[in-house]
Amino acid sequence: MAVELLLVQALNGLQFGILLFLVAAGLTLVFGVMDFINLAHGVQYMLGAYLGASFATATGSFWLGLLLALPAALLVGLLLEWLVYRHLYDRDHLQQVLATFGVILVLNEGVRVIWGTAPLQVPVPALLSGGVELMPGLRYPVYRLAILVAGVATAALLWVLVERTRAGALVRAGATNALMVAALGVDIRRLFMLVFGFGAMLAGFAGVMAAPILSVEPGMGDALLILAFVVIVIGGIGSVRGAFLAALLVGLIETLGRSLMPDLMRLFLDPSSARQVGAALASMLIYIAMAAILAVRPQGLFLVRMG
């Protein structure tokens, strides 16, 4: 019984981690390759969810919605890059943070104006509805397993792209030393734009995938963004492999911590305060883990940037 619960919780953690990875992958590339802090990356996730929801409603099919939402998210990402971000690459980090924070405010409000404030609903596609009984009384939705599979497949694709293609080599080189890459005659601006659009699309993909299980609402990306930053810091800025491992780690710590911390506290405290202290501690756990990892490896799990 307890073992089954633990297994289900581990699965929950992995699935949350995969979702985190899809958001963090774009963030770490953008941060690593362009040395650009994009707080508005979480907004891309939200936009993906909204676009997916709208296209799914309009076409009556989740799959068509997904298919249309991806290029739309890419387009929005490129548009934002052209409109705002490209003017910020040469500025310092504080200005980037301020400007992209402004983008968050504008887009959250824009979403509210266009779609309203009430959360939207996206039905689970018929193909993936239903559940598998992993433990008595609990059906594990097939859709959540599908997220897991899709996320791992995307991670594999990303690995091939970054490690095995010419564009990927340039991206890795750009992450290590952008100036040198530019000096070797590579159009670094175009590379930036490409990476940027791709990152935005990945976040949008995460948003569409999350839409049927989470509620689609303004500001939904903001909470995830903070965790995504934790992920890229733990994983090593610019490293996709690091982001993958760190995302799974953060997902597991978050989920298992929330589930086990109150029980653990019960060994020391009376039940009612154990529940509250446990819940409070669980929400700190990720940051404690981050502090511990950074104390041992200040550069994160995987070092990319030199000097």
Binding site: Q121, G137, R144, R258
Partner: protein
């Protein structure tokens, strides 16, 4: 530069002071001015829209007048930020000279507004936020609420669980004051075993860890309080996890504000409330029908209580024959609550919180495909809130 600035400022203040009596006299002649505090920004704005539309429909039914005085409504968006709410409401009282401050969805905004409004000898009428802070020792002669005391609603669900003979109940709320109050309120009337209490962060988007715990605990029912987007997420994931066989008892989690997003996932889930759209009395039938005709969505309690707020003001101003200067008479008139509530029974207790019936409600799908909560049975009759004994109303 500084000299000019100071002189200009002094001049402005002088002009303002001189203009005040004139303005005041004009306001009197014009009618009655209402500052309507309803959140319009952020993810919770839908609740503010319910509130505003409910109040405006009340005014429409009263032909734009409150107690015979032409009414002017000044909408105030509190942005769910206490300091913003205080600044805007202060301006409404001092500059726009509103006669009443009405509305307020969230308790923390109400808490921030309480002193600035009542210390200006202005009546504050909450149509939703019902913190217990102002029901007991903190009760105030200038404060009324047309909603309920939060504790009561949670306790109603505790009583309902007790009546249904549930022995083992699983509790889950967000980890903040209102969440802990919900648990305390529920336990006040529920005497069975609490299998587990789970407190989740306020920004939880995924309940999968908690749902697995619920499945493992196999309770007779769960009780939860998950307002707004939290509730939308929880209800859908609860259904997806195949837990719907475990009765879902909730407060402020499934209502007409969240049902458009929850839809079928919430069917058969329970809620506790003093009002539901299907209540069968003439004033409620008229309210619901006209509301849907005017705004094209099903009203939630935020709208109903705001509508009652308009009716309450109308009755009180009528009683004092439009004289808003005699605050004591006006208070007595408000206390009388001489109007027909959409809830049926309604009167004020000594602490200016309603004494009313509470119902167990269930989510149902109407013939036209829209969703609403419907009354199942009356759980408590003429329930007085638990703090009234501590209230010693100053005769200010």
């Amino acid at each position: 530069m500084a000299g000019i600035g100071r002189r200009g400022l002094l001049g402005g203040v002088a002009a303002g002071v001189l203009a005040l009596p004139a303005l005041h006299a004009r306001a009197q002649a014009r009618g009655v001015k209402i500052g309507l505090v309803a959140i319009q920004t952020g993810p919770q704005a839908a609740l503010g829209t319910h509130l505003k539309d409910g109040f405006m429909l009340g005014l429409k039914h009263l032909e734009g007048k409150l107690g015979g005085l032409a009414a002017e409504v000044l909408p105030i968006d509190d942005e769910l930020r206490p300091e913003v709410a205080v600044t805007k409401v202060r301006a409404a009282i001092e500059r726009d000279r509103v006669d009443f401050v009405v509305g307020v969805v969230f308790s923390n905004i109400l808490g921030a507004l309480m002193r600035p409004v009542t210390e200006a000898d202005t009546f504050l009428i909450s149509t939703n936020a019902g913190a217990s802070t102002f029901a007991g020792r903190g009760c105030n002669p200038f404060f009324f609420t047309t909603s309920y005391n939060n504790d009561q609603v949670h306790a109603v669900m505790g009583q309902a669980a007790q009546d249904e003979n549930y022995r083992r109940v699983f509790l889950m709320t967000p980890n903040y004051q209102a969440g802990r109050d919900a648990v305390a309120g529920f336990k006040r009337r529920f005497k069975g075993e609490v299998v587990d209490e789970v407190y989740v962060p306020l920004d939880t988007r995924d309940f999968s860890a908690e749902l697995a715990r619920i499945a493992a605990a196999k309770p007779d029912a769960i009780f939860t309080f998950m307002p707004g987007g939290l509730g939308v997420t929880l209800v859908r994931q609860y259904r997806q996890a195949g837990l719907a066989g475990v009765p879902f008892l909730s407060t402020f989690t499934v209502d007409e504000a969240t049902l458009p997003a929850q839809r079928d996932a919430a069917l058969g889930f329970y809620s506790a409330a003093p009002w539901a759209p299907d209540m069968n009395n003439p004033q409620n039938r008229r309210f619901v029908a006209d509301f849907e005709a005017a705004y094209d969505y099903v009203p939630a309690s935020y709208a109903a209580q705001a509508y009652d707020g308009a009716m309450l003001l109308d009755s009180a101003i009528r009683r004092v024959r439009g004289d808003l200067t005699d605050k004591v008479a006006l208070r007595t008139a408000l206390e009388a609550a001489d109007f027909r509530s959409v809830r049926g029974n309604f009167r004020f207790g000594a602490n200016h919180y309603p004494v009313q019936d509470f119902w167990l409600c269930r989510v149902a799908k109407r013939a036209d495909g829209k969703f609403q909560t419907e009354t199942v049975r009356k759980v408590l009759e003429n329930d007085v809130d638990p703090h009234v004994a501590e209230c010693r109303m100053r005769s200010a």
